[in-house]
């Protein structure tokens, strides 16, 4: 018992040092350009995102927020004619390296979509899915339970894990999708307007969850809700027509933005 304790203590301290070492620059993009065919959707984006922070992406529709997010887990690869230029580093590694295992990358960089998309399977199997496809088949039950707890859904579903996930409410489905994502223990979680399809109460549950998850994950969230961006994020990036117009500490962006465009946007003048 005691030896186990000291072991986990040791792990913890190792974790701490690892955290400190990487507390800078989890994600770096350098001179990132992105094209859909001839159309340039991102222009020379330079960002550095630190580990265990929440970064909010804001900006009018069509300015490239989702595109930027999908650059980071290479979901854009699925779009015909998509092209990336520049450098994208995660933990110092270029994720567009030819030798990189794309499924491994996506396992490490999870994604939560705007519309909750549980699979037409049971609640349990939804969370277990990522584990199964990644060959993490040991202690599946425990991992599923833990993920559901971390996603603040366990108490609501623990008695009907075998029921179809499609029977859950929208907010529950979204938390299930978060549980499904964290089950495979990614480092980074990308969220594309995760609350915009939800009612206010479900949305605020997800917000609370995001702030808790920050302890363990690096989170990037696209949102159109300025209050939400303010509440949950450490840094905010304002995109405008494919440019990264302004990128700074969240309080700075909202209290004294450097750019007039940023100011107009957060004051609701356009978008």
């Amino acid at each position: 018992m005691s030896s186990q304790n000291s072991l986990s203590d040791q792990n913890l301290s190792l974790d701490e040092t690892a955290k400190n070492m990487t507390s800078e620059a989890k994600i770096i993009t350098r001179n990132l350009d992105f094209f859909y065919g001839d159309f340039q959707a991102l222009k020379n984006i330079n960002t550095q995102i630190d580990a265990h922070t929440v970064t909010a992406l804001i900006g009018p529709s069509g300015c490239g927020k989702s595109t930027y997010l999908r650059v980071l887990n290479r979901m854009n690869d699925l779009i015909e004619g998509a092209k990336v230029k520049g450098e994208v580093l995660i933990d110092g590694q270029n994720i567009y390296d030819k030798k990189l295992d794309i499924n491994e990358l996506r396992k490490n960089v999870g994604m939560v979509f705007q519309k909750p998309t549980p699979f037409p399977k049971s609640i349990f199997e939804n969370v277990a899915y990522g584990l199964r496809v990644n060959g993490m088949t040991e202690n599946i039950k425990e991992r599923v339970e833990k993920s559901l707890q971390q996603a603040a859904l366990w108490n609501e579903v623990k008695d009907h894990l075998k029921k179809s996930a499609l029977g859950l409410s929208g907010g529950q489905q979204q938390r299930l999708c978060i549980a499904r994502t964290i089950a495979i223990q990614p480092d980074i979680i990308l969220m594309d307007e995760p609350t915009s399809a939800l009612d206010p109460i479900s949305a605020s549950q997800i917000e609370d969850l995001i702030m808790e998850l920050k302890e363990r994950f690096t989170i990037i969230i696209v949102t159109h809700n300025m209050q939400q961006a303010r509440r949950v994020s450490d840094k905010t990036a304002f995109f405008y027509l494919g440019d990264l117009e302004e990128y700074d500490e969240t309080p700075k962006i909202f209290e004294s933005p450097a750019s007039e465009k940023t100011q107009n946007y957060i004051r609701g003048k356009f978008g």
Binding site: M75, L105, F113, F119, P120, K121, V133
Partner: protein, 285 residues
């Protein structure tokens, strides 16, 4: 103005109503006609016995077994191939000339009269490959016959599955095949089963395609290998009602055979429907 619009509505509605009732009446009429003609003949002995007295009475066991064998055999030929082809068409093939060509071929294939398949089967499987008139040739011919149905329904069922599932699966680090095998195919299965039902019904009732490839005129003993011939319900029915030794005398025996065939197709439909509902329920509840 609105009066005449209303009248038009009523006329259109009534027309559709009458047509619907008529169509239902016809199919119910056919069903009951066959049912009441054949029901008095049905007995345990009829199902388990062999034809007697120049096929004017006795049982139809060999024909029932033959039809079941043909269903299973052609299913083994067509289902895996058809489902894989459907997956390929929807998930892998790009929108190009090859896909268009395959689509055209499957559509054409579906429209060809079955006697043509029968002749093809005879030329290719029976003679060309030398399988002879046999269960093997019959199952292959029937398999080719139902292949387009399976391919099309598989393809359509897969198309019906929202891309959200695919994206969500990829985002969890799943490969394309894992995504298809573990998410897309199970979600599409209830609808694929519909295609399978159609195909089975088609095989059970098919006469022309087995005429030259497998069907035996009279063969009371069970086949022992895939190179044997076999009797089959639809062909048996055809024989005893058109070219038997004493057609008039064989009338009740033929009616019983017709009812059996009808019940078999009906029963298989019900079974497959039940299975589809069960799959659907597992997904949705």
């Amino acid at each position: 103005m609105s009066q005449s619009k209303q009248q038009k509505q009523t006329i259109v509605f009534t027309t559709f109503m009458v047509i619907t009732v008529l169509v239902s009446a016809i199919s119910i009429g056919v069903f009951f006609y066959i049912f009441f003609n054949g029901i008095s003949v049905l007995s345990w002995g009829f199902f388990t016995g062999v034809p007697e007295n120049g096929m004017t009475e006795g049982g139809i066991f060999p024909a029932i077994m033959g039809t079941l064998i043909l269903i299973v055999g052609s299913g083994l030929v067509a289902f895996p191939m058809g489902i894989l082809a459907g997956i390929f068409m929807n998930e892998y093939a790009h929108q190009n000339w090859f896909k268009k060509f395959v689509r055209l071929m499957t559509n054409n294939l579906a429209g060809i009269p079955s006697i043509v398949f029968g002749l093809f089967g005879m030329a290719f499987f029976v003679n060309g490959l030398g399988f002879g008139v046999s269960i093997l040739s019959g199952c292959l011919t029937l398999g080719v016959l139902i292949l387009p149905i399976i391919i099309r329904t598989t393809e359509e069922s897969l198309k019906f599955i929202p891309d959200d599932y695919r994206l969500a699966s990829y985002a969890l680090g799943a490969s394309k095949w894992q995504t298809i095998w573990r998410v897309i195919l199970p979600a599409a299965l209830p609808n694929i089963v519909t295609g399978v039902i159609l195909a089975i019904g088609r095989v059970a009732g098919e006469t022309a395609a087995i005429l030259f490839t497998v069907a035996a005129y009279f063969l009371p003993k069970m086949p022992t290998s895939i190179y044997d011939e076999t009797m089959a319900l639809p062909y048996h029915l055809y024989v005893i009602s058109t070219s038997g030794t004493d057609i008039e005398k064989a009338r009740p025996y033929a009616d019983g055979t017709a009812l059996t065939l009808l019940m078999l197709v009906f029963g298989l439909n019900l079974l497959a429907n039940w299975y589809r509902k069960r799959l659907n329920k597992k997904i949705k509840v």
